[in-house]
Symmetry: C2
Subunit: 650 residues, 2 copies
Amino acid sequence: MNKYKVTFLPDQKEIEVARGVTLFEAAEKAGVYLNSLCGGEGVCGKCRVQVTQGNAKADKHSIAFFSRDEIRKGYVLACQTRVIDNLEVVIPPESRLEEEQILAESHLEEQRIWRETSPIAYSEPDWICLHKRPEDPASLFEPLVSKVYLGLPEPTMDDNTPDTSRIVRELKKKLKYPSFEIPLACLRDLSMKLRRHGWKITATVARHNDIGRILQIEVGNTADRNYGVAVDVGTTTVVAQLVHLKTGQVMGVEGSHNLQAHYGEDVLSRIAFACGKGPLDVLQQAVVQNINTLIQTLAQKKGIDVEDITSIVAAGNTTMSHLLLGLMPCSIRDDPYVPTVGLYPQVLAKEVGIDINSQGVLQVMPSVASYVGGDTVAGVLACGLADKIETTCLIDVGTNGEIVIGNNEWMLSCSASAGPAFEGGDTKCGMRATRGAIQKVEINNGRVIYETIGKAKPRGICGAGMVDLLYELVRNRVIDIDGRFRPSVQDKRVIEENSDLEYVVAFPEETEEGHSLVTAQSDIDSIIRSKGAIFAAIKSLIDYAGLTFSQLEKIYVAGGFGNYLNIDKAIGIGLLPDIPRERIEFVGNSSLMGARMALISSHAFEKAISISQQITNVELSHFAPFADEYMAALYLPHIDRESLFPSVNY
Amino acid sequence: MNKYKVTFLPDQKEIEVARGVTLFEAAEKAGVYLNSLCGGEGVCGKCRVQVTQGNAKADKHSIAFFSRDEIRKGYVLACQTRVIDNLEVVIPPESRLEEEQILAESHLEEQRIWRETSPIAYSEPDWICLHKRPEDPASLFEPLVSKVYLGLPEPTMDDNTPDTSRIVRELKKKLKYPSFEIPLACLRDLSMKLRRHGWKITATVARHNDIGRILQIEVGNTADRNYGVAVDVGTTTVVAQLVHLKTGQVMGVEGSHNLQAHYGEDVLSRIAFACGKGPLDVLQQAVVQNINTLIQTLAQKKGIDVEDITSIVAAGNTTMSHLLLGLMPCSIRDDPYVPTVGLYPQVLAKEVGIDINSQGVLQVMPSVASYVGGDTVAGVLACGLADKIETTCLIDVGTNGEIVIGNNEWMLSCSASAGPAFEGGDTKCGMRATRGAIQKVEINNGRVIYETIGKAKPRGICGAGMVDLLYELVRNRVIDIDGRFRPSVQDKRVIEENSDLEYVVAFPEETEEGHSLVTAQSDIDSIIRSKGAIFAAIKSLIDYAGLTFSQLEKIYVAGGFGNYLNIDKAIGIGLLPDIPRERIEFVGNSSLMGARMALISSHAFEKAISISQQITNVELSHFAPFADEYMAALYLPHIDRESLFPSVNY
């Protein structure tokens, strides 16, 4: 079989591949990750690359993505171009999936903010007061997997119970589980271990279904060497936090782009991949690779042995959870939207290929329904929504927006497909909340003031920036309340491109890549559809519950907007309901926080199970008023501004 | 490496082995099993073979086992002789470990008797009335592993709970377990299975710790194809019974000699092997090979697929249980006699190498202490001792004798090392209860009438025969009440051999092998020590409990005597206490019966757990009066005949 060398610039990464492999696959092999929305179907045009040396013909179907000039310069779609020659390929910045270094930092920042402002001080044992057992707070800080040191009394003729009974007897004094299980693997040489090491051992115990499962028995006292990892498995981003399970201390956090994105940007295209082109394993392995890399990085940075990591709690939407466990997700997509499982079994991490202690466990957070997943349950747990007497609301804005409303007596959830406009997708210059993303915008008298993440030259606009921009455009009367550019507007920033109007946020000389950053009519339409879907979902759920917005004591807003969300402007565009500002709180990654809570407290995990079972999901696609609510929400802020958004005035 | 061919006669089995392998190992490889009491140490002289062709030097240390004539004829100890030439080797009958075909049949016979006479009609669902839940008898016939057919309602928008919740919801209607667990392996393609096969499945569910563990999910209705195997793992014999778990019907039974016997005849020599010469694995693999062969034979005979065998319940003494599971038994031997585990975990059969369904489970019956094992617990379960208001007693006579006394409020146990005299060991012409064993003896006026198993020519004397013989010898005043041959006796059957007296039971012309069958003074001493140890144990336990024999409503006698035990004569020699004959019942293999009860009823298994926890074990080696009781019992029937054996009169 012929082999060809492909060199990717600017990274200077070289790879040798067989004839006929696509450039997309070659790049992946070389460790260069490209954008893809469509999963390699050649229809999204996100994986543009420039072939600067060697023979590579642009596929005729993808010619439409390029200008004549670009075709001359060698631009092709990587997913539609097969290697038939030695090549040199340049990856333009916009086609690159960057590892989101910034995100991890921003998460740390987010957590700092959360730590200071959240109703639940999360890393102190007493946060678990939400479980209402203040009489015994120490026992509540009880990780899903604990390491318990036991100095056993030596047997005598009057006390010659079997070794395992002796262990369980002592364990019961320290862990209040009704029963314990010891697998055969721990028993084989147990009698030697005990007798040769003076009856001093450390048992690693995982809690599952009220049973303490002994995972390993080490000699001596190793109780200090017990670490866990909380993982937020997002459709777009995977973030992992390393936690010292003896103290609950967060030791580090790392984020990366979900490698599954190569096979489709959103949940539905990944299901389509798994259930069509497939195989499913590819998706499972991709996210497992994410997690393994994050864990290795965290362990290296903190100088710990991965063998001392005994547990992982992962929170993700229902599809991500199924893919992580290698479960066929096909039925999630089809009416009546039935997942395989809601209460995921506790499994050995190695069963899915995650490299931690060989007996370490993986627990996926339980989900509510096909489109209300473990990430939402984790968020509800983190916000304490299920423990409050007052009715509050959690809004998690992602490609799918999930809403939960309720209190300690009832909870309702729903989800709406919002599209990726707030996460950097679906718009010309959208990008995720990483370095160089415009996150704040103000427009005064035609002058645009913006702020980027990392104070870098702007490279695009992230979700928080989109909220601000939309608000500023309508406030400055550049666009009308239906989102259309006003015909009468006189502004040098409004230009016509391909008979479509665009607003120039940053001119070429200001930007990283020397192209102007714009928002086109189609972008504005996308954002309005996104915010309309989310608001309509909130409104539908409130109506379904027979409430009004004013009855919400608090709204927690979670999601990947960035480090920051301007609540006023979010209300101003009609994304969030018009209630007093101080009742709305941006909480960042509540999914990760809930996963960590479950990791460091098996009581919190139990609470998550009961949350997942208590929430009643309302399927909006079968809820008739939703369509009308959606239509009414496609205005800025809303067609019914007077009664729903009385405080919005522009 | 040089290879030599060894041919074993009369089997004509050939094997090629490397230079230096022992004849014992070569025979084992060839599938020819030899006797061994000492575990290959060259000290018991049980593995005599005759080398008829080729060069094989008798080890000088073992010369003492042979006459000059035998040495000339090529007799050697197989365990001490290394192969350094092509050889032809004749195995004399007495050196052969025979597969005990008869045993299986005798067990069937035993069960027929048991079925008709036992207080518990074991294969009918209503036997479980001992559990006192007659209000719901159907639910009590609930195998440890059930197969449940489920025709699930298809999901709709109003009922779109996850697939697993749908399964558990239906299962809960049929199995009253508080919760269910489904392993990842069952989930991967579950959604497809359900949707492609009309939502009709059969779940295989194992009960463990009140949790229903789903082992496999098959499409369609396979509930009829569910088999289990009950195994009695004896130190000497392994017996397996195939049971149809849908009906409880016993389909067949097979027995074989425990292959571990190659490494030592009794429990202590096997522990010594595992903890010294080792490795332990060899012992585990030996008994697993026993079980696999028995299962294959049963499956073939009954035309069933081993994949349809979903469960095994094994009962054995504590050492056998540890060895089967591959657990180090060393601490069992040492004061204070602590086993690794008493409540054995439910494990996958394949974890220990047993070939049944790949998800099938192995449950070992719980034990009480190092020398009161799961076989005794199974016996107590089978006799219903723990459920009776009246105080009864179970005596299990083996190399170790175990005694349990008690009722539904309390139970005491003890064990005493009785030696193998009742199992065919430790005596010149002793043999196990197989074809050709003398099992009944009567002596009248110097005339001996005997009966053999299978009505064959006599080959030896089994335990039941030894009881009869000893009784007849003392009744006929051939021996005195201290077991010594009377100096004054005039009997042509009493001969002197090597300045020791022997009694000839069968003359050479009557026997299979043409040698006379005798019982020597040393044999009589052995039997008296055995019966003395057992009676002393019973007496000690009765005294410990503050009872008298007359307060025992019933004594169940279990053990490997044969198909038969003459109760009168057993009392006559002082083995069993002198209570009215109708209160004593020989019950055969109560261990196997208890294992089967646990197999077909998880309630019975739970009962076994509570039995193992309720029994208080009395360690006789630390119970001062035991030694005196033992000394007093070394007479026929006892030193205190008048008060303890008033009905015995010879």
